[in-house]
Symmetry: C2
Subunit: 287 residues, 2 copies
């Protein structure tokens, strides 16, 4: 099937989806993005993703490319043209095209690109299999809270994980604490049964799924604490897991080759995974 | 005059110079670049720039897009088609186009883009005017030695400088030492007459002009020391200046609004500027 992309006002065939070489996204990583899960045709936590997009744009002082209502219309059209009922929508906004110079151009029109594709994402089977992670020094830039396309450090971390037969890298800051994964948030369940994940701030991206899971944990009566933890603490934890829009909840069964807990998915991760699945089912009317 | 760009094997009009939205340079800042000065038709320190390009590519494990000889042919053709005798050549290599996923794609062909434009760069008049800099926290990623397009932190620093009526931001690491400028290397001349600039390593880009200036300083009998310095030390220095390919040597007359030395270009900067001009003149046969 031909795929289609939205590129700066036009719907084009995916293979013809091009941007200018002086788009500042290409030359300066001067742009932001969102990846939104589509479930039964519904954008999961779509408003929260658009809230975060606006925050990222505002942090970089990139002008909003169009109204939120207009972005939603384009999102719907991209899903429709690509016949995506279950999958991922990708949206990127950059500062726009200008002759290369670091500082912001005086007048510039932001650029917006959107694609969508069908994909099978989380599943009971993937949950049960769990994942391995490695720990790595966090060498990303200092504003991980901005969802910028400045992802080269994340790329290198994911590649290092893949080469170690792991699925994710947990990044460790100079203070010895885990910030987050290269494309996910990091969680543990302590011996006391507390659910722990790092608090928001400049060092992590405020995950949309992270926020939803914190709300669901409260509903389930699971005590959640937002604080930093170390790899050593994670290795002694009862459970560890990661969260992201495209992975939902994935148990972390080993870190740097050492087992976490009993090496199997834990009950808190299971309850959150189930609750998240029900939540998404309610959103999409499929539950 | 129409301008031309080289884009992945073709010479196209500049306005038609496009790359795919899934070029990893656009989605992941997964690419590197060089800016080379052209003087009287000659690429200044061209071999050193190509050496550094190869190092950057190798550090990110991006395949060399073509042989060095072939790149030089393209460079010459881009200059010829754009009739650039004095100006700048821009070259960018990215990992290439692939469906979006962080880790390196299994098979991928690197992408190469090149542009050139005429420009008047350094001059006696610009040298004499000097520049102001501000100091800012260095929030770039941990591998400033790789000339990657992951430049959003540099963009924000340059913008902050411009808004403070300054020309450059000197970035200060967590240890309180200056790393370098957002697009230049930082230098001071101490009360004892020592020329000081930070040693290479992961925290700074090994500037091509920086290396040339160190060689010229040795020829001039100016004692050079590669070590870190603080903003406080720079404010007490006899002279301060910055270097880059496009700026050569530019005296820094104030930092955060406070004068450096007597607030005028200093004699060591002047000697290095003159020596650099003579060096470039010898290279291009115009001296």
């Amino acid at each position: 099937m031909s795929r289609f992309a939205y590129v700066n006002g036009r719907y084009v065939r995916h293979r013809d989806a091009m941007v200018h070489i002086e788009d500042r996204g290409y030359q300066f990583a001067d742009g932001v993005y969102e990846v939104v899960v589509v479930d039964h045709g519904v954008l999961v936590d779509g408003e929260a993703h658009l809230d975060r997009l606006e925050r990222s744009l505002s942090a970089l002082r990139i002008v909003q490319p169009m109204s939120r209502a207009a972005i939603k219309l384009v999102m719907g059209e991209v899903l429709r043209r690509n016949r995506v009922r279950d999958g991922l929508l990708y949206l990127q906004v950059t500062r726009g095209v200008a002759r290369r110079e670091h500082k912001f151009p005086a007048t510039i029109k932001p650029a917006m690109v959107m694609t969508a594709r069908s994909a099978a994402l989380w599943s009971q089977e993937r949950f049960s299999r769990g994942v391995s992670v490695i720990s790595l020094e966090d060498i990303r830039w200092g504003r991980a809270d901005i969802k910028s396309v400045s992802l080269i450090a994340n790329v290198l971390a994911k590649q290092a994980a893949a080469e170690a037969d792991a699925n994710e890298a947990w990044l460790v800051g100079p203070d010895g604490h885990v910030t987050e994964g290269a494309s996910s948030n990091a969680w543990i369940v302590t011996a006391a049964g507390d659910l722990v994940t790092r608090g928001t701030g400049s060092k992590i991206l405020g995950g949309v799924t992270r926020a939803t899971l914190l709300r669901l944990a409260a509903h389930l009566g699971v005590r959640a604490v937002e604080r930093a933890f170390t790899i050593e603490e994670a290795l002694k934890a009862r459970e560890a897991f990661l969260s992201s829009s495209s992975s939902a909840v994935l148990p972390v069964l080993s870190i740097d080759g050492a087992c976490v807990g009993n090496g199997r998915p834990g009950p808190v991760a299971r309850r959150l995974y189930d609750a998240y699945g029900e939540y998404v089912g309610r959103l999409s009317g499929s539950g």
